[in-house]
């Protein structure tokens, strides 16, 4: 997992995260939403019931990483 750091580093990292999701990224998201394929969307909705298991520890590690991102964003 890519670590983001804290303090000034985190602010910088947050800026990088924002930069990664620029206008073309959101244009792509809009296209996917507008062209919603109902069958594929149903697969997405039902995917949490499949037998696939995440790698041990990954779910918690990502949650901790995102919590850090969240705290940094809303604490400034």
């Amino acid at each position: 997992m890519r670590e983001r750091g804290t303090g000034r580093q985190a602010q910088h990292a947050r800026g990088l995260v924002k930069a990664r999701f620029g206008a073309s990224f959101w244009d792509g998201v809009e296209r996917e939403v507008e062209a919603l394929d109902e069958a594929d969307f149903a697969l997405f909705l039902g995917a949490d019931g499949s037998s696939i298991e995440p790698r041990a520890g990954f779910e918690g590690a990502l949650a901790a990483h995102l919590s850090g991102l969240f705290r940094t964003r809303w604490s400034n």
């Binding site: 997992m1 890519r2 947050r14 995260v17 924002k18 990664r20 999701f21 990224f25 959101w26 792509g28 998201v29 809009e30 296209r31 996917e32 939403v33 507008e34 062209a35 919603l36 394929d37 109902e38 069958a39 594929d40 969307f41 697969l43 997405f44 909705l45 995917a47 949490d48 499949s50 696939i52 995440p54 790698r55 990954f58 779910e59 990502l62 949650a63 990483h65 995102l66 919590s67 991102l69 969240f70 705290r71 964003r73 809303w74």
Partner: protein
């Protein structure tokens, strides 16, 4: 899903988004727990690579949490998250070498696997003929909108502008057309 249930979904989305925007870490956690498995498992299936699927999960949630102000509630939150996930998966598959996640509706009518033998090819032609006949039998307005959407590949907004109808009316016509086709073509594997 009934209108009352849909309203409930919208309301639940609004509550959770408002709470996250207000800095509530519990709402943040709830959203994560609600969608993590769905995004992870969907990505594993599409990519066939658990490690890459983990990167996708991280990227999706970073997009959601870093850019939540972009969510305007036009669609359900889960649809928005699905759009983000598909877009990230598409980008990754494209970088792998030109492969892209597509809907059946994005396949041009002339497209066909190159290694089809004579019998499957004849069957495919017959199926295509049945689909064309069913489209011909649609009401004029539905047929026109279906052709603009799938033939011209225009988005809903553009079709609404061209036909002078609201976006909701266009979506409704598309829905009715797809439902009619699905009913008339029960044996066909259409992505409707």
């Amino acid at each position: 899903m009934s209108i009352a249930q849909l309203s409930g979904v919208k309301e639940a989305d609004r509550i959770i988004v408002d709470a996250i925007r207000a800095g509530d870490p519990n709402a943040f956690r709830d959203l994560y727990q609600l969608h993590f498995r769905r995004i992870h498992n969907f990505s594993v299936r599409r990519l066939g690579d658990p490690a890459e699927a983990e990167d996708v999960c991280q990227e999706v949630f970073e997009a959601v949490y870093s850019c939540l102000e972009r969510f305007e509630g036009k669609s359900d939150l889960v649809v928005w998250i699905y759009g983000i996930t598909r877009n990230i998966l598409n980008n990754r598959l494209r970088r792998r070498g030109g492969v892209r996640l597509i809907s059946l509706e994005d396949i041009p009518p002339e497209a066909a696997p190159l290694d089809l033998g004579p019998e499957p090819l004849a069957q495919a032609r017959q199926a295509l003929g049945r689909v064309r006949d069913a489209i011909e039998r649609l009401p004029v307005e539905q047929k026109k909108i279906l052709e603009l959407r799938h033939g011209k590949r225009l988005n809903i907004r553009k079709i609404a502008q061209l036909t002078g109808r609201s976006e909701d009316a266009v979506k409704s016509s598309l829905y009715r057309a797809r439902r009619t086709l699905a009913a008339q073509l029960p044996g066909e594997r259409l992505s409707l």
